[in-house]
């Protein structure tokens, strides 16, 4: 049997897109760079200890005293490892990617809750996006956006978006039928239905989607160090590739600390019940 020329065909497609759509890709690139810079400026503006106090305060309000103390100590710990600058860079990527993933994902989830055909089309695509090994996104991202933070953010958006779409869709579909009927029977317009009934009632589920989206972003941003995303991921990567076990371990610890803080912060109180 002759070898199937799928690889060659794909290369051809990528080449075609790269050449013919160059303008679009560089516009996207520029746009995302601006966002990353903005995020980084904001996060690195306060000294680490001020940042730590702010996070602890938010954790105290949204979650518990324990989490607040953990956040405070965690950030001091990261600084103690000299990894605060790398953490800032990682957080900037996470926030940029998550923000874009949510801005696209939540409306998409709302639309697919309202339209069964759209839902039927989206479902396999989302499955595919989530089950593909994360590395697979890295290569086309590099081809279109070269290496660096931008392709890292792009592949993170793709990887992290599915739960936002899925859980928004689920949350809205789970609103009890009688409440929808009540809304209709009082003459709600579609946007009143959405903003006064469906979204508020779906909010806990949507927040679970946001939480998952952030956690997936974190894991992807770490992996994306392979294409030059920098940050904590590259600390681990350098450690591993140069056999500096201690350095890799410290980088790994910092990732875990950040992961726990982000997770608890976005879970809030509602999901703990």
């Amino acid at each position: 049997m002759p070898r199937l020329p799928i690889g060659a065909g794909f290369e051809g497609l990528v080449d075609y897109l790269r050449v013919s759509w160059r303008g679009l890709f560089s516009a996207i690139r520029a746009f995302i760079e601006v966002l990353i810079d903005a995020a980084e400026t904001v996060i690195s503006f306060p000294p680490f200890w001020v940042f730590a106090i702010i996070i602890a305060a938010i954790a105290y309000k949204r979650s518990s005293k324990g989490i607040a103390i953990f956040s405070l100590l965690g950030i001091f710990f990261v600084e103690g490892l000299n990894l605060w600058p790398a953490t800032v860079s990682t957080l900037s990527l996470i926030f940029t990617a998550t923000a874009i993933a949510l801005i696209i994902g939540i409306p998409l989830g709302i639309l697919s809750a309202k339209s069964d055909p759209l839902n039927a089309v989206l479902r396999p695509i989302l499955d595919l996006m989530q089950t593909m090994p994360a590395f697979v996104y890295l290569i086309p991202a590099v081809l279109f956006f070269r290496i660096g933070q931008v392709p890292a953010v792009i592949s993170t958006i793709i990887f992290a978006m599915p739960p936002a779409v899925r859980l928004t869709n689920l949350g809205i579909r789970q609103v009890p039928k009688e409440l929808i009927e009540a809304g209709e029977s009082f003459g709600s317009l579609w946007h009143q239905m959405l903003f006064k009934i469906q979204l508020p009632l779906a909010m806990p589920t949507i927040m679970a989607g946001v939480n998952q989206c952030i956690m997936l972003s974190l894991s992807m941003v770490v992996i994306a160090s392979m294409i030059g995303a920098g940050g904590l991921g590259s600390v681990v990567l350098t450690g591993v590739s140069t056999l500096k076990v201690g350095m890799a371990f410290e980088g790994g610890l910092a990732v875990v600390v950040i992961a726990i803080i982000l997770d608890r912060l976005t879970q809030g109180k509602s999901l703990k019940k």
């Binding site: 009688e178 409440l179 009927e181 009540a182 009082f186 003459g187 317009l189 006064k196 508020p200 909010m203």
Partner: protein, 399 residues
């Protein structure tokens, strides 16, 4: 005058509903159609009229199409065919905008499981209908508070639904519907989720409220006792069809077929019950030689408009009304002789059959008196004791 006229309403669920209607018109039954085509006939040629200010009850077993009918009225469910005429305008022909206007101003719905928004306070729930209409915050709060007071929920404005009991939740549901000041209230098994005692209270309150409000109410229930207590007229449904429409006593005394008869079975089975079994002691009576001032005090004490008057040996003389008592006082009369009316009150013997009592009690606004052969007052029959008797007779069915 008819507020609402429903003409030949059909609803067929499934992918090709028109085909279902064709089959119905060919004389096929609901289960045949389901078996052959997979279409569910929800409502089959239903017609009825509801007068302004009337409480119209739709009754039937589960699955008989009650909810589908009531949801067709505000088009939460699109009818497959038929006309729904509200104040002369056909609702089924209205466009989206007109329909929303009708839902906002003409009809409000109360739901079986309350359908309150859990993230909103009682007040904010009550305001919902006004809020979507764009009524300004001050005015809608004022109106919402008014209707909360009407249903007896003053002081609970800031509570959340999950802090309330079932009965209170449904009061919020009712207040939310009333806040819009609709002409028509649609109530789909509004009390069915409540415990029997609370349910009975709510029924009483609805009847009281209705005397003040004079809304047009369409009330769904699967419970005969509730239908009898609340309804001016009752429509019985089975398999999507109307079986009988009439006043309570028509349905009890002339059931249209065995289905209705089975519904009112308790009444027939209670053939053996007599007045003596269900009569109660009157709240109070006055002697004919008593002065009108004493009679007035008794009226006030018991909250009665009419008193039973007896003479020596507890022989029933008749009744006096509060207005006549007041008149007698101003005229300086010292006894009740002149103002006692003999014929206002119905008298029955203790062995009267319950079937005949039902008609009498439903017709008269004052209790029916039970007297022996000498005219001695033995007790009175009030509506609720008749209902209670029927209810306990039918206890097995309610389980």
């Amino acid at each position: 005058m008819s507020k609402l006229i429903v003409n030949s309403l059909y609803k067929v669920f499934g992918s090709n509903p028109k085909q279902g209607i064709k089959l119905i018109k060919e004389g096929k039954e609901k289960d045949e159609i389901l078996r052959e085509t997979g279409l569910t006939v929800g409502v089959n040629n239903v017609s009825f009229e509801v007068k302004a200010g009337e409480t119209f009850v739709i009754m039937g077993l589960s699955g008989s199409g009650k909810s589908t009918v009531i949801r067709c009225l505000n088009r939460l469910i699109e009818p497959t065919a038929g006309e729904i005429i509200l104040d002369g305008k056909d609702l089924t022909k209205m466009d989206k905008k007109q329909l929303i206007e009708v839902r906002r101003t003409a009809m409000s719905m109360v739901f079986q499981n309350f359908a309150l928004l859990p993230n909103r306070t009682v007040l904010a729930n009550t305001e919902y209908g006004l809020e979507v209409q764009g009524v300004d915050a001050i005015k809608r709060k004022e109106k919402a508070l008014e209707s909360l007071i009407l249903v007896g929920l003053e002081g609970y404005e800031d509570s959340y639904p999950d802090q309330l009991s079932g009965g209170m939740k449904q009061r919020v549901g009712l207040a939310r519907a009333l806040a819009n000041d609709p002409e028509i209230l649609l109530m789909d098994e509004a009390f069915s989720a409540l415990d029997p005692l609370i349910r009975s209270d709510m029924q009483d309150e609805l009847v009281d409220l209705q005397q003040k409000m004079k809304k047009t109410i369409i009330f769904i229930t699967h419970d005969l006792d509730e239908a009898l207590k609340i309804g001016d007229r009752i429509m019985l449904m089975r398999d999507g069809k109307v079986i009988q429409i009439g006043k309570a006593e028509d349905i009890l005394s002339n059931p249209a077929d065995e289905y209705v008869e089975r519904f009112v079975q308790g009444v027939n089975r209670s053939d053996l019950l007599t007045a003596a079994d269900i009569m109660v002691k009157p709240w109070t009576t006055v002697g004919i030689n008593h002065g009108p001032r004493f009679a007035l005090a008794e009226c006030k004490k018991h909250g009665l408009e009419t008193l039973l008057v007896t003479k020596e040996g507890r022989i029933l003389s008749g009744t006096v009304t509060i207005n006549e008592i007041k008149k007698a006082i101003s005229e300086g009369k010292t006894t009740l002789h002149d103002i006692t009316k003999e014929d206002e009150v119905s008298r029955i013997s203790p062995d009267t059959n319950i079937k005949d009592i039902i008609e009498l009690t439903l017709q008269s606004s004052i209790p029916v008196a039970v007297v022996d052969d000498d005219g001695k007052l033995l007790g009175v029959i009030i509506k609720s004791s008749v209902l209670r008797a029927l209810m306990s007779e039918r206890g097995g069915d309610n389980a």
